[in-house]
Symmetry: none
Subunit: 324 residues, 3 copies
């Protein structure tokens, strides 16, 4: 579809959140279709996890987004989907790869939302494809368990913060979940959640560096808990790390089923977003260093540095491999 | 994309206007891409006309709309696009053809919106395809001239109308044209206009019969004049004809460039929409007969009857042909 | 959240209606949460009234709106909420107070929408806070009764009106109430209604003065009757008074439960909006004087003048008090 002014920031760059939402919709369609391809109990595929996703080149207002999706692996209860996004300038014909994302879905019964159904197996062209898929499946399963433990943190407000401290840029928004945010089962689309997370992370980044910012990448996101229609969700973000030219922001999503539910507010999702700041010519700008004050902030900064260096090393290894 | 509650009425049927908007967006993308496929002045394809479009089967919330578009003819300054819409129930896998629409676009220069550029010719597989396309092109050109003359009419308000008269159900809405309604040239997308027209026509139909209604077909729509960002548009509808089970509504779109512009309000588009009323089981219901009062209303009723009988005869001829 | 192009007019000023909608959403969330804070029948807080609200400074595209809400008084069956809106330019860090609004909510049972539940009392830091709250509660109750009686008026259409008369700028729109407009109870959010009212009032103001306009204030709005999903609402506005630099517009909301309901069209809300016209530099411009023709128009003009002078006197008294 054609990118509109509301999909973009004032510099004309399409929000990462808009793209994540399109990716998730494509993934939900293909995996729901697959899970219902054999006779049996009807199901709706729910997003369980998105692997780390890089934004390879910015998309602009007026360009057309081409989204394609393919199922690359199935386990007994989950589907791995590969989604590619290309931006196309229909005036010049220029096309660019914007994103390559990997998503995991789980089929939930349409009649009983707490029942996970079985996934029809796909055929692999080569045995190695199945083996590699299985490896990816085991890896993401481990990672999901780990993040579940990390999830207890809360963002507290800070009075009169100094510029460039964590408290200075931290932000949160609340959103009342409406019908168009939800699937047939009455739960929030993963893509809607990711769009809100990107919105908050973008505000944190812009408050910190005061210049035009764009989403550079999103770390793996695990969807631990479903969010129901009628909930109020609070999305909070705080900066955890800055390199010379990038900012890492941690985002939490809390759901508050405040009507007709005995349940307490709970943590539904958390993730790390990385932003860069771009000049008018599209060149990356230096960003102010994050000032850490408390012990926790210093620890999170070091952890962010670890993720940053790991990603950098991985990218360099890939480039060397590609060059050989 | 997946149909959401906001795309549909309370009975769960997707609004004809939502479908028309998707059709037009697909047409605008493919024709703009084609018009810029050769070196030269960049252009944006503007919708000039939509041929009569039937809604063959209703689409529902939760279904996926598959839209495909193909260029079927090019004249020197215009492009004919054929767009097909299929509804897919991703739970059952059932697919149905919802619409087959034909649209005409004209490339306008990105630098000078009043300049119509030349269209790169397409290659035809067979000579007859070109000849048939040329015939369609000549026919629509004639029809465009005709409707331009009919366009002077105005809908006057009626005080305390009787049930089932024209004045009883006539309706109008105003809409302030925002950035997301517009193309790169700053003019309203034809699809946005058609969605508003369907909204008004649907309200007229529901006011008349007080039951659940769906769009059955749209007569050829000619876009005589562009509408600029910042205009207020008034969309008015009045019932012109009823058969036993269908209602015909005439819709006018007037644009009012009311801020910082010396120009007067002008008629931009007009068209006929046909609606049917459906029971909960999806069966067509009888509709109350339209009560005509003035000479003009009686004349318009007879004209509507003419269009109705002509369409009916054409459809029977097609069915006989198909049966042979 | 960040203000987008669709939230604003073509001069980049955010519509008053967008801000009113955010205010109401914040109020609905905090009061629903409060009313469900004790064990008992679950309820949804419905907007009953908004006190007079001034727009202290304009908000622009790209700025972040910070909305905070606090419960300031509870009676047996109603909750008073104070909502503050700040605009923040995240590039410069500049913050401005945009609005201070007071809203009244009533908890309706989730199981039986016609049953008003009891509100858990709040604790007051000082006895005077409770006394002042009670005084505000009694005052608004009186005012609600009064406006209920005023509510019978209808806006009649005028053929070929002269510029700057009442008939020249009067406008109305219709809107089909969709799922996203509604609360969990299936009734229209007060904020959605106020956004439509601001849209119509803004079009009336712009038609009158033909220049860029912004909402300056909204008089107290009473929500007499709920509006159900599937209704068509007609929002009509007419100018009642002009001072040198401001325009007062009266807005009516009528609901038409036209499908499968025996009920007649009814008046749901009415209110007065005040607009000013701004130059490109943000300075207030002189507006053309309203030409009154009928006796009713002259009377309404005088009443509007009364409200204008009263507000002016009140503001001057406040400024003197503040200066002491």
């Amino acid at each position: 579809r054609i990118m509109r002014p509301d999909d973009a920031n004032i510099a004309g760059n399409v929000h990462g959140g808009t793209i994540l939402k399109m990716i998730e919709e494509a993934g939900a369609i293909i995996s729901t279709r697959h899970c219902n391809s054999q006779a049996g109990e009807p199901s709706v595929a729910a997003l369980a996890r998105v692997e780390r996703t890089d934004f390879l080149s910015p998309m602009c207002i007026g360009e057309v987004a081409n989204v394609s999706a393919e199922i690359t692996y199935t386990s007994r209860h989950s589907v791995e989907v590969q989604v590619n996004v290309m931006s196309e300038n229909i005036l010049t014909g220029a096309k660019k790869v914007t994103n390559k994302a990997t998503l995991w879905y789980v089929p939930l019964s349409l009649k009983n939302v707490n029942k996970v159904l079985e996934v029809p197996p796909i055929q692999y062209a080569r045995k190695e494809q199945e083996d590699e898929g299985k490896k990816r499946y085991e890896e993401q399963k481990l990672d999901r368990l780990e993040t579940k433990q990390r999830n207890g943190d809360v963002i507290l407000p800070v009075i009169n913060p100094e510029p460039h401290t964590v408290g200075y840029s931290q932000s949160s928004l609340i959103h009342l979940v409406g019908p168009s945010d939800c699937t047939l089962l009455g739960f929030v689309h993963g893509g809607v959640t990711m769009k809100l997370m990107d919105e908050v992370a973008g505000i944190v980044a812009a408050r910190h560096c005061k210049t035009n910012i764009v989403t550079a990448s999103v770390d793996a996101i695990n969807f631990h808990e479903k969010i129901k229609k009628g909930c109020v969700i609070t999305v909070s973000g705080r900066m955890t790390f800055t390199s010379n030219k990038s900012m890492e922001i941690e985002v939490f999503v809390d759901a508050d089923p405040f009507v007709d539910e005995p349940r307490e507010r709970y943590r539904a999702v958390s993730a790390f977003f990385t932003y860069v700041s771009l000049s008018k010519e599209g060149k990356p700008l230096a960003v102010p260093q994050l000032l850490t004050e408390t012990e926790d902030e210093k620890r999170r900064f070091e952890e962010g540095k670890g993720r940053y260096l790991q990603t950098k090393a991985k990218r360099q290894a890939q480039m060397q491999q590609a060059a050989q």
